[in-house]
């Protein structure tokens, strides 16, 4: 049974831009003469009309999301970011470095079959197949703030299960101090992994990590859906992590492996620029990124440039009550 609760701040169905119209917006902008000559030349739009007559192809297929069954979230006081923005403004360099590229370039991504392997220092190593992702644990909706390290933020209704439940099922040994996460490596499907230019010079696969007590915190969510449906590829289908008190890059997408380890694992952005991105990456308005302030953020909501609000950033993204104890006595300026 699909239980849907509608918060007062939620968008009504009719307010949502038609998905195809949204996915076509770059074409619309191109036709208006917006982008540079380079991308116009690269675009096949100019020749699409004639070749389509022969190939019979139409607009690129949109990834099919399924409705999920889940326990609905309680009301949330802050306005949700509209679904089209949650699914159209993504940092997922595996599908290109520009914010709209993941939505454009990931629609053919194959999520079934899928294997999520839990291994390492555990008594019960296990592998979850595609169907297991949705059936192994009861799914619940959680509305979380998402704060990107680039100083923009969203409010997203995720659906998933507690990472803690998964950890308990794996039964970690006493040597398990950290969890090391890994994203799928498949350059045939992920253009950013195939080309350094497309992928922003990152060494793939993308890897992330948590301390085991962080992973056991009830807020850490293994996420399989958003806005009532399974995740679209640009948001990390079929399964991703969401750790709402940390900057968005910690919430690794399209996970194929979780390994329990004794030593602090390497993490992708830390490897790339350790002075700018730490292992902990807790949202902290008191510790600036070396190149920009983290004291405030722009909340992405509906509307054009005049309706984007800058709001103060909260310590631990507003989840200090639930996670502050994890870092008691730690110098957060040093362990950023």
């Amino acid at each position: 049974m699909l239980i849907k609760s509608v918060a007062s701040g939620d968008c009504k169905e009719f307010e949502v831009t038609d998905e195809r119209a949204y996915l076509n917006r770059r074409e619309i902008i191109k036709k208006m003469g917006f982008v540079g000559v380079g991308s116009l030349l690269a675009s096949s739009a100019a020749t699409a009309g004639i070749s389509d007559l022969f190939s019979g192809s139409t607009a690129p297929a949109v990834f099919q999301q399924r409705a999920l069954q889940f326990g609905a979230a309680k009301k949330f006081s802050e306005t949700l970011t509209p679904e089209v923005k949650v699914t159209g403004h993504n940092n997922f360099y595996e599908f290109g470095i520009e914010k709209q590229q993941p939505a454009e370039l990931s629609q053919g991504f194959k999520v079934d079959p899928w294997q999520l392997k839990i291994s390492g220092e555990v008594e019960n190593p296990l592998t979850l197949g595609y169907d297991d992702l949705y059936s192994s644990f009861p799914l619940e909706e959680r509305i979380y703030r998402l704060r990107c390290v680039e100083a923009w933020s969203m409010v997203v209704p995720w659906i998933g299960f507690s990472l803690a439940d998964l950890v308990k099922r794996a039964r970690p040994t006493s040597r398990a101090k950290y969890l090391a996460f890994e994203t799928l490596y498949d350059p045939a499907q992920m253009p950013g992994q195939k080309s350094r230019r497309m992928g922003g010079g990152i060494d793939y696969p993308y890897v992330e990590g948590l301390r085991i007590d962080e992973a056991m915190n009830p807020l850490a969510l293994m996420t399989v859906g958003l806005y009532g449906k399974t995740l679209p590829p640009q948001n990390g289908a079929p399964i991703r992590l969401v750790v709402p008190w940390k900057y968005g890059f910690k919430s690794i997408k399209s996970i194929v492996g979780i390994k329990f380890v004794e030593k602090q694992p390497a993490t992708t952005w830390n490897l790339l620029a350790s002075r700018e991105y730490g292992f902990y990456a807790n949202v902290n308005p008191a510790v600036d990124h070396p190149r920009w302030s983290q004291a405030s953020e722009r909340r992405i909501t509906t509307g054009g440039i005049f309706t984007q609000n800058r709001i103060p950033t909260l310590p631990f993204n507003g989840y200090g009550d639930q996670v502050g104890d994890l870092y008691a006595g730690m110098n957060l300026k040093k362990y950023y």
Binding site: R25, G33, F34, G36, H89, K99, R197, R291, G304, I305
Partner: protein, 206 residues
């Protein structure tokens, strides 16, 4: 072989240049207000006007070498116009940051300009560009005599600063900024004699 165009065509080409420079800007803000610029219209307008300004600066620096190489003297008459449009785009870029990114929080604006080296560099380039735009009239040019050329030679410094500003601002995707670094060196290579002369003069003073 010189390539010349009939005099009566010049004003018409100028109208086309005006349209080509203004049309994308009008479209940009229309789409931004209508929420048709993707997930984050603020980031979109900042990037578009920034890259636009840099593109216009590069075009402006291309005019002289192209005019010399192909003896297309009339191109020189477009330098001021292109330069002023580079200034307009840079102004929009800065105002986008002020109005839509920091949202008129002047304290934050000042802090960011002084604390973030890449913004400091960008703002320095912008201030220099203001000086060039403000002295771009014929009257002032005649009044300032030699000093005018000295001041306007700063355009090379400005483009260098803008290229650094761009390179410094990105997270990890350095291919596009590096393309502009390369372009800058090509544009400077066209002027190697002039640069050599300045270098010699500078060294002889030491």
């Amino acid at each position: 072989m010189a390539i010349n165009i009939a005099k009566q065509w010049l004003p018409r080409i100028k109208v086309l240049v005006h349209l080509a420079a203004l049309y994308p800007l009008i479209n940009l803000y229309y789409a931004a207000i209508q929420d048709q610029l993707g997930g984050d219209p603020v980031e979109a307008v900042i990037h578009f006007t920034g890259i636009g300004a840099l593109n216009l600066l590069v075009i402006g620096l291309l005019l002289t070498p192209v005019a010399q190489r192909f003896q297309m003297g009339f191109l020189i008459q477009f330098r001021r116009m292109i330069g002023l449009y580079a200034f307009v785009y840079a102004l929009c870029h800065m105002l986008n940051f002020l109005f839509f990114e920091v949202q008129l929080n002047l304290q934050l604006f000042v802090d960011e300009v002084f604390e973030r080296p890449y913004i400091t560099v960008g703002m320095t380039a912008f201030l220099l560009l203001i000086a060039l735009a403000a002295t771009s009239t014929k009257k002032l040019r005649q009044k300032m005599k030699d000093r005018w050329q000295t001041l306007h030679n700063f355009i090379y410094v400005i483009v260098l600063l803008v290229v650094i500003h761009f390179y410094w601002s990105v997270k990890s995707d350095i291919v596009e900024p590096l393309t502009y670094v390369t372009l800058f060196f090509i544009l400077m290579a066209f002027r190697h004699k002039k640069l050599r002369r300045w270098a010699d003069k500078l060294l002889s003073r030491l």
